[in-house]
């Protein structure tokens, strides 16, 4: 051991740190901020997206809406309240009506469902749907995730250009970052 090994470890650590800084400066979307979306007074959903999600000042049919346009994709989050009954996950792979409504709201046409997958994120079952569609004459791929939480359904929809593998990787990374956490401050997003 001795002095030489410690020096090497120190240099390696400096290198790692330097690379991370460099990468952050050159590729600012590497380290994604967490967006906190309030569900109720006690809980919130945290998800990582390259740009922080901003709440719309109005609701879409009783749903709170958040949006962010990132370099590789656009993301929309709808929090749909279900009243007094707790939301239970359905075994049916048919996408909820809300997903199709959101696609219609963004004027996506010729929507085709390609895949429906039940996955576990943070110990919770989540349906992930993959679609293709056309918007303003351009082909898009759309990934939607339906996340039941308390008396709400949280539906997050990602839009990216068809064939963009990097965007798809980002989208899957974002979906897997979904977490339900205790709400720290009231009144924000």
């Amino acid at each position: 051991m001795g002095k030489v090994k410690h020096t090497r470890i120190f240099i390696l650590a400096c290198l790692l740190w330097g690379m991370a800084c460099l990468k952050y400066a050159v590729f600012p979307e590497v380290f994604w901020p967490s967006s906190c979306l309030a569900v109720n007074d006690t809980s919130q959903i945290e998800m990582q997206v390259p740009r922080e999600l901003k709440a719309l000042p109005w609701e879409d049919e009783d749903c709170k809406v958040w949006q962010a346009k990132c370099n590789r994709f656009f993301v929309d989050a709808h929090l749909q309240p279900w009243g007094d009954e707790p939301v239970e996950l359905v075994a049916d792979p048919t996408p909820p009506e809300r997903v199709y409504k959101t696609l219609a709201r963004y004027k996506v046409k010729d929507v085709v469902l390609k895949e429906a997958d039940l996955m576990a994120i943070d110990g919770r079952p989540v349906w992930r749907y993959e679609f293709t569609g056309q918007k303003d004459g351009k082909a898009y791929e759309i990934v939607a995730a339906s996340y039941p939480i308390a008396h709400n359904s949280y539906i997050v929809t990602y839009f990216y250009h068809a064939g963009s593998e990097a965007a798809r990787d980002d989208v899957l990374r974002s979906i897997e970052s979904l977490r339900v956490t205790e709400r720290r401050e009231k009144g924000g997003n």
């Binding site: 690379m19 590497v30 380290f31 949006q67 709201r105 064939g163 965007a167 990787d169 980002d170």
Partner: protein
């Protein structure tokens, strides 16, 4: 350069390469199509009404409007109204069917003020103009009232008359852009 130094440089090079490739967000070997300003994502609520000549006037609003059927007053035999007030913005649309085609509706400040009391009084008119929609001019009048941007639009095709009122805060660029999109989306099919 001694052997030891060469070995170190090689190791540093390998580490840099591995970090560059492995850290998320930099996927050099993946197909990437970035989002551009042309990838315009905003929520749209369609409003469509058939006119007496069989054509349909349509536009997309940024918020869900409430529809009602006010009692008809002369010179109209039928009225339909849409209203949305959200996030400091306001949209009102009135579709009236005249009893006779010979009646010509005034699309000036005084005329709009009779239908929308919000523009009667302190509105400082900044611009007036027309654009053709379905071969017929759509009259546009815009102005500022204190800190509010207000736009009135009028359209007459035979017995059908459309009156539009859009209002948002003068310093709210997002709301202004949304209202402009709504105005641009007015079309006759």
């Amino acid at each position: 350069m001694d052997k030891k130094r060469k070995k170190w440089l090689r190791n540093i090079g390998v580490i840099m390469l591995v970090l560059y490739e492995v850290l998320p967000g930099n996927l050099l070997w993946r197909t990437e199509v970035e989002m551009t300003a042309a990838d315009d994502f905003y929520l749209c609520y369609p409003v469509e009404e058939e006119m007496t000549d069989g054509r349909t006037l349509s536009l997309y609003l940024p918020v869900q409007p409430a529809q009602r059927q006010p009692a008809a007053v002369a010179p109209y035999e039928r009225l339909t109204a849409y209203k949305a007030i959200e996030g400091g913005g306001e949209i009102q649309i009135v579709h009236g069917v005249l009893t006779t085609e010979q009646t010509k509706v005034r699309f000036d400040l005084a005329g709009f003020g009779q239908v929308f009391p919000q523009v009667a009084g302190t509105l400082a008119v900044q611009g007036e103009g027309t654009r053709l929609v379905g071969g017929t001019p759509l009259h546009i009048l815009e102005g500022v009232d204190k800190n509010e941007r207000k736009e009135c639009l009028g359209y007459q095709a035979g017995r059908d008359v459309w009156l539009f009122y859009f209002q948002c805060a003068e310093d709210d660029d997002m709301a202004k852009a949304m209202l402009e999109r709504a105005i641009e989306s007015i079309a006759i099919n």
